[in-house]
């Protein structure tokens, strides 16, 4: 039971020196049932600072539910989720979320959409405008800052929603199948873009996907989840060099990881 040692440590501000020892995010024996349906059974997971972790599993296996519990929107039926040592009881400002759909507000310009969390968190908009433009520039959509979402392509909208999730400088970025609504080519490009943005402003990322290649390409660590009730079946460390380019997807080491992940998923079906 390592939790006892964690709570005794002084962990307030972003103490990066201790980042190896203290998980930014701790999921401890979490269960979730909806009425009589058991969705998640006993999931435990520690994520360290600046780590990119993927939850990989078939659709409807409960990985999105797990993510929404981390976001504080759903309460676990048992177990505990804590961020920096303090238990999650509701939405928190240290978290940024990217959803499957961009969910931009159609009446706001791209820039105003990116600044939306700042308004909700009652922070001073003026302090964040420059940062928002910087993020948009990094996502290569700064030319569209004053356009409405409907004037943007699907990929550009999702980039804007990533900028929105990052604007209030969260420590943890949660991504719920963010590229699954995009076409395959855009999707690969978005993966590269995401890694570039992540490289530039390091964050802890928890990425939910049902794409094996996407998980292997993006992550430091992939957690394979089985069908309902969901549990973590296997943990695979992806030891591939960064920065990663699309060409890596043809390399033999990459494909070995893909095969291994696929085998693990297939085993869970049997």
């Amino acid at each position: 039971m390592p939790t006892a040692t964690v709570s005794t440590l002084p962990i307030n501000a972003a103490g990066s020196s201790k980042s190896e020892a203290i998980p930014v995010l701790r999921i401890d024996s979490v269960r979730k049932s909806f009425d009589k349906l058991e969705a998640i059974r006993n999931v435990s997971l520690d994520v360290t600072e600046n780590e990119f972790v993927s939850l990989l599993g078939p659709s409807g296996c409960g990985k999105s539910t797990l993510l929404m519990m981390v976001a504080g929107l759903i309460h676990p039926s048992g177990g505990e989720i804590s961020i920096n040592g303090s238990p999650v009881t509701g939405p928190r400002p240290e978290i940024g979320v990217v959803f499957q759909q961009p969910v931009l507000l159609p009446w706001r310009t791209v820039l105003d959409n990116v600044l939306f969390p700042i308004e909700l968190l009652k922070l001073r908009r003026a302090d964040y405008e420059a940062a928002a433009m910087e993020l948009l520039a990094m996502a290569k959509i700064d030319d569209f800052a004053h356009h409405l979402p409907r004037q943007l392509s699907g990929g550009m909208r999702q980039r804007a929603s990533i900028c929105r999730a990052l604007i209030h400088k969260p420590r943890i970025l949660l991504m719920d199948e963010p590229f699954s609504a995009l076409d395959a080519i855009t999707r690969d490009e978005m993966g590269v873009e995401l890694l570039r943005i992540w490289q530039a402003n390091r964050k802890t990322v928890v990425f939910v996907t049902h794409s094996i290649r996407e998980a292997a390409f993006l992550s430091d660590r992939v957690l394979v989840m089985g069908r309902r009730p969901a549990t973590i079946i296997e943990e695979v460390k992806i030891d591939l060099p960064r920065p990663r380019q699309l060409s890596m997807m043809e390399s033999e080491p990459f494909n070995q990881y893909v095969r291994r992940l696929r085998k693990s998923i297939e085993a869970s079906h049997a």
């Binding site: 504080g72 979320v97 959803f99 969910v103 308004e119 909700l120």
Partner: protein, 263 residues
């Protein structure tokens, strides 16, 4: 802006052209067939009547317009407030929403004589009838607008710690705006009907009264002039709302807006 105006002018060209053509046909037909103007006056005679009796028409137009606009504004405010209550209280929604919907079956015009028994002849009855008719579409449309927000948008706002108050003003309200405008477009025409009908039944002034009076005197040109003035006023009010809609609901294309209207 200019481009938009040119486009709407081009859209107007056809209906305006066809209307003019129909007016010309009407004029020619009445003259050729020798129809007496007590039955059907030609457009030219109606226009002359509008000009000659302009003071009489205006004197009766103002009270009607005043009551229409007042009734409309009350309906809009009341409708939106009731919609907010319905949106946030599930008890009231389950209790009252079905009643509101079912009460639509009652032809509200038939209540006009009852209003006169209760509130007497005069402005109060007219105003109340206008509100009674115009209120429901406003409520139902606004309630639909407040409730039709995307579940994902709601979740997004909650993850960024949006409060109920923020979610109402920053999400539900703008989301409901197109619905509120379609409600307003229905309500304004219904408010006019409410006022005119109650003026038919019992009033000493107003365009409805004038139409009835002219009918009694068999002064068909005056009657048609009054109808024409009323229609033009109604069109102008509707146009103002449509214009406000285009300005406020800038994020939807004009085809989206057209698709929302109904009733």
């Amino acid at each position: 802006m200019l481009k938009w105006m040119r486009k709407s002018l081009a859209d107007l060209a056809w209906p305006v052209g066809i209307s003019l053509l129909l007016l010309v046909l009407w004029e020619v037909a009445v003259r050729k067939l020798g129809i007496r103007s007590i039955i059907l006056p030609p457009p030219s005679e109606i226009m002359v009547a509008i000009w000659d009796r302009r003071e009489l028409l205006l004197a009766h137009l103002w009270p009607s317009l005043y009551l229409t606009i007042l009734g409309f504004v009350l309906s809009v405010i009341g409708g939106i407030l009731v919609a907010v209550v319905i949106t946030y209280s599930s008890t009231l929604r389950r209790g009252f929403y079905p009643i509101i919907v079912v009460s639509q079956v009652v032809p509200k015009i038939s209540i006009a004589p009852l209003f006169i028994v209760w509130f007497g002849t005069g402005t109060m009855s007219s105003l109340l009838l206008a509100v009674l008719i115009a209120f429901f579409p406003m409520t139902i449309n606004s309630a639909l607008g407040f409730q039709s927000i995307d579940e994902d948008i709601h979740r997004m706002a909650r993850t960024f710690m949006g409060s109920r108050w923020q979610i109402f003003w920053k999400i539900r309200m703008p989301n409901a705006l197109p619905y509120i405008f379609s409600g307003m477009k229905i309500s304004i025409t219904l408010a006019i009907i409410g006022v005119i009908v109650s003026e038919f039944v019992a009033s000493q002034e107003g365009i409805g009264y004038l139409i009835k009076l002219a009918g009694g005197l068999l002064d068909t040109p005056l009657m048609m002039a009054a109808i024409a003035v009323l229609s033009i006023s109604g069109l102008a009010l509707y146009g103002l709302i449509a214009l406000a809609e285009q300005r406020s609901v800038y994020w939807q294309t004009s085809s989206d807006i057209g698709g929302n209207a109904g009733g």
